[in-house]
Symmetry: C2
Subunit: 254 residues, 2 copies
């Protein structure tokens, strides 16, 4: 939990249903928002199918590049839930029935008067040596191994697990941002905006066109910086640019 | 447009705003749905930031593995719109102002009585030799180079471009699917479902837990196959499994 300048993360969403279009992913957008709030830069997202080799290859590609990797999906009890196997394979560790997870699950099914079937026991599987990520919603834990955090795909459970994980992560210096709405399209502001970006290299200025439907584009400009003075200086230049364009248009209407 | 058994695709969504959580992506889910309808298997999705090296590396990783690569985002006129540069770099081609695109854009701005600025001319940039993807919404074209289809990030424009592209792609034999809702959670059906999957290797049975909020999970089961007879046989077994569980529960209530 030191405040380094940059802490990075990648997210890996796992599941055929996301790739077939049956399910629209909700976890990526949520994680992106929460990581940004935490001062962690989400640098890459991948969605892969329920195939062990694909999941393991993505885990290995991402864990070597980024401070943290968050995964969602594939930790339920059925035959297509193979994330525990794939992550174990990626780390070269045996995938075992974790004793503490078996206990938690056994107690929960006991309380509910339900049989603790072989299928349900699959939810206790994780790489040997993994640490639990608690699941306050439905008991079956996620797990952490190395810098990889394996969480559920059901959004209520994913969000609860992420809430638990975030305070345990190192966080970077928080990225600050200011939004400025330009009534002018990107084509009218682009050159001047590029000059402003060049003059403020310690900021990152994003430009996002919005199509109004009446044939007119407006632009949402987002200035980002970790330093507040740098942020305000760049934002002031952006506002001045918009005011200058307004005055020019008044002086010589199209 | 031959009907091969399997045609694959990957999608690459480009943009800092997707990774910061400011914008929730709408194009991935739409593309997944439309590709599935077209009999094309979406096998992988990546989201990368507005960084040329990252975009180029992802384009190269994906175009060598899949039949098609669709990209969204980063083809507007501003300094952070660098998809044309990155895709050109990936193919080792010069990024040029395409003559036909310049003509289209010049005519559009002429009609609208607007100046065709240097900034706006950036929207005509693409790798030398690329083919246009028409943009009926706001003129600035996307482009195809090799098996990579570069489209806009604004959803209305992305969708219009994709509508144009899809009929030009080879399509696989369409994947058929049947949905069966199980009132029982994955823990109760998992073992039997795994046996059904094993007995029907030419199908793919997905199992998706839904959390009802009252502490009860139900399960959405999706049986998929390219062959209708195989599909129906597996789906019949799934329905019989649910009926068998129901009868067992009636016989010995918990």
């Amino acid at each position: 939990m030191t405040a380094q300048d940059t802490v990075t993360a990648a997210m890996l969403a796992i599941g055929d249903e996301l790739l077939s279009g049956r399910t629209r992913d909700k976890n990526i957008g949520h994680a992106a928002h929460m990581l940004t709030l935490s001062g962690i830069d989400l640098k890459e997202v991948r969605i892969v199918p329920d195939e062990e080799a694909e999941i393991a290859a993505a885990v290995n590609a991402l864990r070597s590049r980024y401070t943290y990797v968050l995964t969602s999906g594939g930790i339920g009890p059925t035959h297509d839930d193979i994330t525990a196997d794939a992550v174990s394979a990626a780390f070269g560790l045996p995938c075992i029935h974790d004793a503490k997870a078996l206990e938690l699950l056994a107690a929960m099914y006991e309380r509910r008067g339900m049989e603790f079937t072989e299928t349900r026991k699959r939810m206790a599987r994780m790489p040997q040596g993994a640490e639990h990520i608690p699941n306050p919603v439905s008991t079956a834990p996620g797990f952490r191994i190395g810098n990889v955090y394996v969480m559920a795909g059901v959004p209520q459970v994913f969000e609860a697990m992420l809430d638990h994980v975030l305070p345990t992560l190192a966080h970077g210096r928080k990225m600050l941002s200011v939004a400025v709405t330009s009534p002018y399209g990107e084509g009218e502001i682009g050159l001047r905006l590029a000059a402003i970006q060049k003059a403020h290299p310690e900021t990152s200025i994003g430009s996002y066109p919005r199509f109004g439907g009446n044939g007119v584009f407006t632009t949402e400009l987002i200035v980002r910086a970790r330093d507040e003075t740098a942020l305000e200086a760049a934002a002031a230049d952006v506002r001045a640019m918009i005011e200058a364009i307004r005055q020019e248009k008044e002086a010589s209407p199209a």
